[in-house]
């Protein structure tokens, strides 16, 4: 089975974000693999271990995203594709989806996996848009994959504790729900092996994607508070004592 995993690199979880126009200041912060994508990668590696084949890590973004591709290679992906674009954050979901699709069209993969959502832009659309662009069936929020006889049986998470099994032919595009598996760590051996693996770089312009922008981010800003929060101060012990007093005598909830 030939599997492409879409992996985005996003600001590290605890990175202090400074807003700069319609994006953030990238210079002083660390970046990491979009956490939901690590579950998609793990699922791809498990499918390969079971059914054989190849796992290709695909990432679009500036030079820095190569580091995340390398991490995927160290965990067991066979090769990487980097779509170089310093201004990826100016793309709307449609243009981003079309670009990712264009870069892998000729790979004719059996399966394209994405994470559930990106922790930076969080469109929640990219996988479905890739499926639309490649005219492939798709399913989202997947909690289990069974591949038999050229078909997939998928467990989709629905809301309010419901699930549904769905049958889907191959080739297909799937968005993986976080928590579907336990992700592995890269081993030292894996890290060494990754050094010999290939990362092909293509520029986004060279893909020839034509997509009129459908939307524009006017500005980003820190949201205003809906509630007035009373912050308690002091040593941990003082704060704990104040909190208990507030909860007992002011809010009267304990």
């Amino acid at each position: 089975m030939k599997i492409i995993v879409c992996i985005k690199q996003v600001p590290a979880k605890d990175a202090p974000l400074a807003i700069a126009g319609s994006w953030i200041k990238e210079s002083d912060i660390g970046f990491e693999m979009n956490e939901p994508d690590s579950f998609a990668l793990e699922e791809a590696l498990r499918l390969k271990e079971k059914h054989g084949g190849e796992v290709i890590a695909l990432s679009m973004g500036p030079e820095r995203v190569k580091q995340t591709i390398k991490e995927a290679l160290a965990k067991g992906a066979d090769r990487g594709i980097h779509i170089a674009d310093d201004k990826f954050f100016e793309l709307d979901p449609l243009a981003a989806g079309k670009s990712l699709a264009a870069a892998v069209k000729n790979e004719n993969a059996d399966l394209i996996l994405t994470g559930l959502q990106s922790d930076d832009q969080g469109f929640g659309q990219t996988g479905v848009l890739m499926a639309a662009e490649l005219d492939r069936p798709h399913a989202t929020i997947i909690m289990a994959i069974e591949a038999t006889g050229g078909k997939l049986k998928l467990k989709r998470e629905l809301e309010a504790g419901w699930f549904q099994w769905v049958e889907c032919p191959l080739p297909a595009v799937l968005s993986i729900q976080s928590g579907i598996n336990k992700v592995r760590y890269a081993t030292l051996k894996g890290i060494m092996a990754a050094k010999k693996k290939e990362i092909a770089t293509v520029t986004r312009e060279s893909l020839g994607v034509i997509s009129e922008p459908t939307q524009r981010v006017e500005k980003i800003y820190v949201p205003s508070k809906t509630k007035k929060t009373e912050f308690l101060t002091g040593t941990p012990k003082e704060m704990a004592a104040k909190l208990v007093e507030k909860l007992k005598f002011e809010a009267r909830v304990i």
């Binding site: 930076d120 419901w162 922008p213 820190v222 809906t226 308690l232 704060m239 208990v244």
Partner: protein
Amino acid sequence: MKILVVAEHRQGKWNNASFETLAAAQQIAGATNGSVSTAVLGKGIVTFADELAAKAVAEVLSVEHDLLADYTPDGYCIALKQLIESAKPDLVLFPHTYQVRDFAPKLAASLGKGMIGDCVGYRSENGKLVFVRQMFQGKTVADVSFLGAGPWFASFQAGAFRADLVQAHASGKAPINSASVQLDAAQIRTKPLELFKEAKSAVDLTQAPLIVAIGRGIKAPENIPQAEAVAKAMGAEIAASRPICDEGWLPMERQIGSSGQTVAPKLYLALGISGAIQHVVGMKGARTIVAINKDQNAPIFEIADYGVVGDIFEIMPALTEELQKAK
């Protein structure tokens, strides 16, 4: 502006977020001098159409088809594309449900259009409509506007608008028009199979008056007893954000949020939870919210009544002690 709201139901029940989006649509129509219609798809949907007709809408478009009996992304995209091409709305609105995430981006793309998903609000500024959505896990919000000609597509996060604000129809009943669509079984590539629930949970957090919830700030399962001690000293139930349950550190039934339980206790104490919207929708109805987080900019503080900026590992033991003293 002509607005079309696509309402959602499953197994004979509404997804209530449909009415929140209908309320949003009525408010946008009010602000832009527009009109609202609503569509419902499925098989045997007369009662759903009737219920929608009682709301203040220009018309209800009822799309009945055998192949729409069960939701499929292909079926919904093909049917709604035809409906939109004939009804010609300027703006198509959806509740941001799992089902909408599954098909709406593709529907928009099939018309060469884009979607602004997961919006938490809108503003109408000098006749220009701006949609507000979160970025960076709620640490920032963005104003996003559409470019180019409609139809435009947008979805609203559950809880962003109040369903009880939907206006009723002035004269009692809006016209229900059935819209026919051409749909062939061969066009539907995925096959929906059985719907099911995992084993019923033993704890019912919805009834718990006090909840102590832990997030990824707890770092490791070995640390959970410290939070459990706080809960015990308070007589509270323990709950968690999704990553904690994903890791298997606490059972799924203790997960709060859009894919977990929705609770409204007297007190919700959030320990090391950042306050992503998918978590917040499950607990923002709590009467008193306390957040303890080392990051003073964590979004959870936006909805907290009391906030403590600090390390939970320093505060949890102190809090347990103070709670025991106060007994």
